[in-house]
């Protein structure tokens, strides 16, 4: 009988043991990197649990979860203690005019940024570059990797109050996959390879399946943070046409995101109100704390700075490189350097001289990365980086590093001579056509450095310096250019499949078969190690064959007044949830 008194302790011990066991066996929160199925798993479905909206202890034991309380938990606790002031209109200055607000039709960064407030996504990248469920409640993959079943969050509702259904997701995914690289890659691997019910099947109102003809373990590359969830009727719009604007104040531009777009005066402002009753899926809670957000367009950086200094603007994604140091040292400002992208020197592989490897190698050998990257302003905003999938991210690789930033004119001339010998190129009369633009200052500055450098190699150069609209038109003509200056790919694209300049179909039209084969292999790799190996091989081949030239990586920055809190505690995205103001 006296041992009977121990029963409660035994039960508590058993409960704790059970909980920790559950946590230890839980799978990653998102389908980005599932481990290869073990032999013992073959007879059962791979069960994957979503990131739980509560329970710090159990989250802390999952492989991808942060060890400290999440930003959401901190905010929630702070709110409970009265440490958060609700209300206020947050004024946000965007970096460029928003021309269109359909996030599928246009890939413009500013549209993407503003759309994240309105349009929901199925997953999101956190600050550690891990995918977290957002629209999914849970998902599971069959052991053979061919069938994925997704269950939507039960409380996901459109701004008009109607529930987000699997049919909405199916139609939205079709539209998105008709336009965006990630979706195209995903749909290519479905059973039908097209937008049929067999590729994405609706099971019931909140469940759908993705049916693949080959395993696609890197599915999160597709269902990542693209804000594309629309009502099925709206998603029926052709992907190459803009969603009709007649209803942006009512019915068309709606999704299930945290904010409702109330008004858009192009070239002037956006006005958003909180989506009443909205709750996010980010670990530990995500809420809207402000009464609204107004996006204003401030084209001049000096005026923007004045607006920030005087408190007329609370948050900006548009600071200029010249103002970085002044803002960084300002005690009234908070700042975050945004995730990097890569400047790119596109080489046209379809004609001479670009089709000759020795010519491409001569340009690569001459590249002086420090000089080229310094056009991006203070050192905090750029770095020389050999990794084509970005340094400091899971895509970083050291392969081919010795061919990066050689700044060796002697070697460049050796390659030049070899190129001349094999091609019959006349250094005195044949001209290398370089295209750049004045719309982007850094493109222009890099092109000026490059043209001087390539003349030093001994090439006769001609530069067409024009505005961006003309430059991209020239670029479509394979016969019109040899070298083109542009930029590419932030964090969601830092892999061999989504990097557009690695596609043989896009500008430059490289013919590197090794990379083409490796791209297909990358999507089939089941493990992080396997994918890292493919990344190494892609990068090695990129340097060996000089597909294009990447001089490093650069960043912009987001800046806010110190009275604005939480804008980037959880994510790099500009969703402005868990953001509040104490002004």
């Amino acid at each position: 009988m006296k041992y009977f008194r121990l029963l409660p302790f035994v039960l508590v011990f058993a409960f704790v043991l059970g909980c920790s066991s559950d946590s230890a066996s839980s799978s990653p929160a998102a389908p980005s990197a599932p481990q290869a199925p073990k032999a013992s798993d073959a007879s059962t479905k791979a069960q994957v649990q979503p990131a739980k909206p509560s329970g710090v202890a159990s989250l802390a034991q999952t492989p991808t979860a942060p060890t400290a309380p999440t930003a959401g938990a901190v905010v929630k606790a702070k709110a409970a203690a009265g440490g958060i002031k609700k209300g206020g209109i947050l004024v946000w200055a965007l970096e460029a005019p928003v021309k269109a607000i359909d996030p599928v039709w246009t890939t413009a960064t500013v549209t993407w940024r503003s759309s994240q407030m309105v349009y929901d996504s199925l997953q999101r990248l956190d600050v550690d570059f891990q995918y977290q469920n957002n629209g999914f409640e849970k998902w599971e993959m069959q052991p053979d990797g061919l069938k994925w079943t997704f269950t939507l969050r039960d409380n996901m509702k459109f701004h008009d109050g109607s529930k987000v259904t699997a049919t909405d997701i199916q139609k939205s995914a079709f539209r998105w996959a008709d336009r965006i690289t990630a979706g195209i890659q995903m749909m290519k691997r479905t059973t039908e390879g097209n937008f049929s019910d067999k590729s994405i099947s609706v099971v019931d109102a909140s469940t759908f399946t993705l049916n693949m003809k080959e395993p696609y373990p890197v599915l999160s590359m597709g269902f990542s943070e693209a804000p594309f969830i629309m009502k099925a009727s709206v998603a029926a719009t052709d992907a190459n046409s803009r969603v009709a604007t007649d209803g942006y104040e009512g019915s068309t531009y709606i999704s299930s995101g945290p904010y409702v777009l109330k008004k858009w005066v192009p070239g002037y402002r956006f006005e958003y109100e909180p989506h009443q009753g909205w709750t996010g899926m980010v670990p530990e809670g995500e809420s809207v704390w402000v009464d609204g957000v107004n996006i204003v367009e401030v084209p001049d950086k000096t005026t923007l700075l004045a607006g920030l200094k005087t408190g007329k603007i609370d948050y900006a994604t548009s600071g200029s490189a010249e103002q970085y140091l002044a803002l960084k040292d300002d005690p009234n400002m908070g700042m975050k350097v945004s995730s990097p992208g890569t400047p790119i020197l596109l080489l046209n592989h379809t004609k001479s001289p670009g089709k000759y490897l020795n010519w491409r190698k001569s340009l690569q050998a001459a590249q002086d990365a420090e000089k080229l990257m310094s056009v991006h302003g203070p050192a905090q905003l750029w770095q020389t980086c050999h990794a084509i999938f970005l340094c400091g991210t899971p895509g970083e690789s050291a392969a081919g590093k010795d061919m990066y930033n050689q700044a060796d004119l002697t070697k460049a001339k050796e390659y030049r001579d070899a190129f001349v010998a094999e091609s019959g190129w006349d250094l005195d009369n044949d001209v290398v056509e370089m295209v750049s633009n004045t719309s982007y200052q850094t493109h222009r500055d890099r092109s000026l450095i490059n043209i001087a450098r390539f003349k030093e190699i001994g090439y006769k150069m001609n530069m067409t310096m024009t505005d961006w609209a003309t430059a991209v038109t020239i670029r479509q003509n394979k016969d019109a250019w040899d070298i083109f200056h542009t930029g590419c790919c932030g964090i969601p694209s830092n892999n061999p499949v989504m990097n557009w300049y690695l596609s043989p179909k896009t500008y430059g039209w490289h013919t590197n078969q090794t990379i083409i084969d490796l791209q297909a292999q990358y999507t089939r790799e089941l493990t992080d190690a396997g994918r890292a190996k493919v990344i190494d091989q892609v990068q090695q081949s990129y340097y060996d064959q000089v597909s294009h030239i990447s001089p490093g990586q650069n960043s912009g920055y987001h800046v806010w007044r110190s009275s604005t809190h939480g804008a980037h505690d959880y994510s790099d995205s500009t969703r402005l949830t868990n953001t509040w103001m104490d002004k």
């Binding site: 021309k99 890939t107 413009a108 190459n240 070239g267 367009e297 000096t302 005026t303 991209v472 179909k505």
Partner: protein, 315 residues
Amino acid sequence: MQRYIIKRLLAALPTMAIVGVVVFSIIHLAPGDPAAIMAGEDADYEQVEAMREAMGLLDPIPLQFWRFVKGVATGDLGESIFSGHSVSGLIMDRAEPTLSLAVLSLSISILVSIPAGVLAAWKMNSIFDRIVMILALTGYAVPYFALGYVVIFLFAVKVEWFPAGGYVYMSDNFWQYLHHLLLPSFVLGFAGSALITRMTRATMLEVLKEDYVRTARSKGLGETIVLLRHAFRNAANPVLTVIGFSVAGFISGVVITETVFAIPGMGRLITEAISQRDFQIIQSTILVVALIYVMVNLIIDILYVFVDPRIRYDS
């Protein structure tokens, strides 16, 4: 007079037609493809072509021109290729800030430059005259944007009397509307007043040497009456012409002023449309601006009659 106005309005029609043809041709002959911009960096050729087709850019140029002409004739200026908003709606939205800025700037210019020019001529070679001429030269020499930055720094950042930028529609809050417009109007008006001041001074100097001015003075008329009624009235026509030119200058000047002060006016609408090759907006907006020029010139011509009774168009 009525006949003259009707004749002038009718004469404006071929002018507008020529402007329309020229603008349409230039836009469509110049390189630049809105589909390529909108398709983005990762789009391949097929995707750009699909988008071009959806935008109606693959239609024959004469057909596109016919659509444009038909639209203008029926008052339908079409839709922005990018935003989908009606171009006439966009122009209406943007017209208020631009016209407000132009009217206020012009008012500041006239109120400052005409008295300054008259007094400078009256007190030729005095300290006042020299100060006015230096200021006029400064106004002429300093670019709009530089002056804009200076006044923003002084009046928005340092003393915080005015907002650094932005715009409030008149219907939303009239005082805020004025508050937001004063700094940019001062910048534009200061620059615009330079030419008017110099022209007023120069013509006044000519007129003040005339016999009838000497006669007026010898009759014992007060200097104010001599200056305003006898001298300035005769000097006003060239000044009026310059004011007409200034309106044109303001419309081009607002592009920069609107950018510096983040005002959503027609200047920015045009420049942004050009950078994106939003054909519908470019061609329609330029047509509207051309119409404004024609109308301003007509108004100036009519004003000549009131200022100088010797002018008779009907004869």
